[in-house]
């Protein structure tokens, strides 16, 4: 067993869960309450990275590499998702000259 794994397992897993849950909640509140779309995008990333942290912690706890492989999937998908999101934001900026989320209220019934 490698030293890094031992160090990871030395910290009780509850602390990792708590930290990940806190990061996740910061992300959720950011998505719901921030008005700048770039900050919103960063908060979505924060949510996904909280999940990554949790996955790695559980992976070390179970001594099972599956969780770490899942983290690679999440990182790759998150990168693809952000590139699409930024492209859509560039479109919005070209058409409206701003990235404020309050401008996006044209669709109302």
């Amino acid at each position: 067993m490698s030293l890094s794994l031992q160090i990871l397992q030395h910290v009780p897993v509850n602390n990792y869960v708590l930290l990940a849950a806190m990061l996740f909640c910061i992300g959720v509140f950011g998505v719901l309450f921030r008005r700048n779309t770039i900050i919103v995008l960063m908060c979505v990333e924060l949510m996904l990275n909280a999940v990554n942290l949790l996955m790695v912690a559980f992976s070390a706890m179970h001594n099972d590499p599956g969780g770490q492989i899942f983290v690679f999937f999440i990182m790759a998908v998150a990168a693809a998702e952000v590139s699409v999101g930024l492209a859509i934001m560039v479109l919005i900026y070209r058409n409206s000259g701003s990235v404020d989320i309050d401008l996006l209220n044209k669709l109302k019934g």
């Binding site: 992300g27 779309t37 979505v44 996904l48 999937f73 999101g85 019934g109």
Partner: protein, 457 residues
């Protein structure tokens, strides 16, 4: 498995066709590829093969849902091809649609939570681009961005649930999780229940079930009409396929617990969807709310897990999707006039008497009038809910489908009203005529012979 390869092949050919400047071949290639995909889905019947170290499992359930998705995709492609051809990005859009379809096939045939996650993302990321594909229209951009933020948000919640379940079980494999739940049924930790709840919430965003529906009307209205048709049919069928596969394959041992969650989702979706739909003046927005209410009905078969659950879900999905695509062919003609209000349909019956009858039949099928497919779908859904002993839920479902009849009839009445002062002209292409007649025939046949689908799985 070959279904997936054929569909991904369409996407790759469509992208290369743009480089080689042979855009004309995209439509024939897509049709041929989808036909091959349908054929391979049929040939996968009863093979029950596991692929990629048990990452994917093509059982009959996966084959049936893949076939349904591919057939809907064929009809959708015929409907959408005039719209895709106008504008600059014919090949890109076709490729994105094909990749999105590949994602939906992964979603109904996963056997590992990692594949479920990848399927959802392959489906969604392509759709974010497609929703915003009307580049110079701010409404389309807004729809794309809202869909993106809500989709990413839902993915985050879903993944947090996956991580918690992984923490509790130490595996992502569906069978192993099921075995873990079965052996530790009495002392499952709160972590496990939280994980399941978060996963249900994440998937509820995708099926647009209330109270996680708030993005749907805006996104459906702002996106190009053909993409709206794609989102409200194929995505919904795939997401329900994934939801049932997840709940039945993974957490069937604790179904008393998650049934309560589904009852709440179902009742709220039916009421919110139907009541809000009565207040809409835009036809596209009305269909968005009606799709929310149909998500509520489609949750009913999940309340009890029996042999009939999968097939009644399949039948409802087919009835809903074919009727919707037929109606969306009318909406796509309306969007060419830049007027999607229900009032703009006035005088439609006078100028297109036969089409008015066909559209009325499709709308009545969505409302659930016998002997059409929508009625049989609702019948089996309500029957399943009754068998689970939730009589009050069925009562609410019947009342809300009565509200549904009211607003679908309003559209039909609008079509048969005499022309107002502005008479819009409706130009149907040959593609839309084919789609309309096909959807009409399927709706009629499935309504009279529901056993074509019921009893297969």
């Amino acid at each position: 498995m070959n279904t997936l390869i054929a569909i991904a092949g369409i996407g790759i050919v469509a992208m290369i066709a743009d480089i080689l400047r042979i855009r004309k071949i995209i439509f024939p290639v897509a049709m041929a590829g989808l036909a091959i995909a349908a054929f391979t889905a049929v040939s996968d019947w009863n093979t029950n093969t596991r692929y990629f170290n048990d990452m994917m499992f093509f059982d009959n359930y996966a084959a049936a849902f893949s076939l349904l998705i591919v057939v809907i995709a064929i009809i959708w492609f015929v409907m959408a091809v005039p719209d895709l051809k106008t504008g600059n990005h014919y090949s890109d859009k076709s490729a994105l649609v094909a990749f999105s379809l590949a994602g939906s096939v992964v979603m109904v045939s996963f056997s590992n939570l990692a594949m479920l996650f990848l399927g959802i993302e392959i489906l969604s990321v392509s759709l974010y681009v497609l929703a915003a594909s009307n580049k110079n229209n701010l409404l389309s951009n807004e729809a794309g961005f809202k869909y993106f933020i809500m989709g990413a948000f839902a993915t985050g919640i879903f993944l947090f649930g996956v991580a918690l379940i992984y923490g509790a079980c130490g595996t992502f494999n569906l069978q192993e999780i099921n075995a873990f739940v079965a052996t530790n049924k009495s002392d499952l930790s709160g972590q496990m229940y939280t994980g399941v709840l978060l996963m249900i919430i994440g998937l509820s965003f995708k099926i647009a079930a209330a109270p996680f529906h708030f993005w749907a009307p805006d996104v459906y209205e702002g996106s190009p009409t053909t993409i709206t048709a794609f989102m409200s049919t194929i995505v919904k069928v795939a997401a329900f396929g994934a939801l049932y596969r997840l709940m039945a394959g993974c957490f069937s041992q604790i179904n008393e617990w998650w049934t309560t969650v589904f009852i709440i989702l179902s009742v709220v979706s039916m009421l919110v969807g139907n009541i809000m739909a009565t207040r809409q003046s835009s036809f596209k927005r009305l269909l968005a709310f009606s799709s929310i209410s149909h998500a509520g009905y489609m949750l009913l078969p999940l309340l009890t897990l029996s042999d009939l659950t999968g097939t009644s879900l399949l039948l409802y999905g087919a009835a809903y999707a074919f009727a919707s695509i037929g109606i969306f062919s009318l909406v796509s003609v309306m969007s060419e006039n830049d007027d999607e209000s229900i009032d703009s349909l006035n005088g439609f019956a006078k100028s297109h008497p036969i089409k008015a009858i066909l559209f009325s039949v499709l709308l009545l099928s969505l409302a659930g009038i016998p002997p059409l497919a929508g009625f049989m779908g609702k019948y089996y859904a309500f029957y399943a809910a009754l068998k689970s002993g939730n009589t009050s839920i069925v009562l609410i479902a019947i009342i809300s489908s009565l509200i549904g009849v009211y607003y679908y009839l309003q559209v039909i009445i609008a079509m048969y009203k005499p022309t107002g002062h502005t008479s819009a002209s409706f130009r149907f292409t040959i593609y839309q005529n084919i789609v309309l007649w096909t959807c009409f025939l399927i709706t009629l046949i499935l309504g009279i012979f529901p056993q074509l689908i019921i009893g297969w799985l």
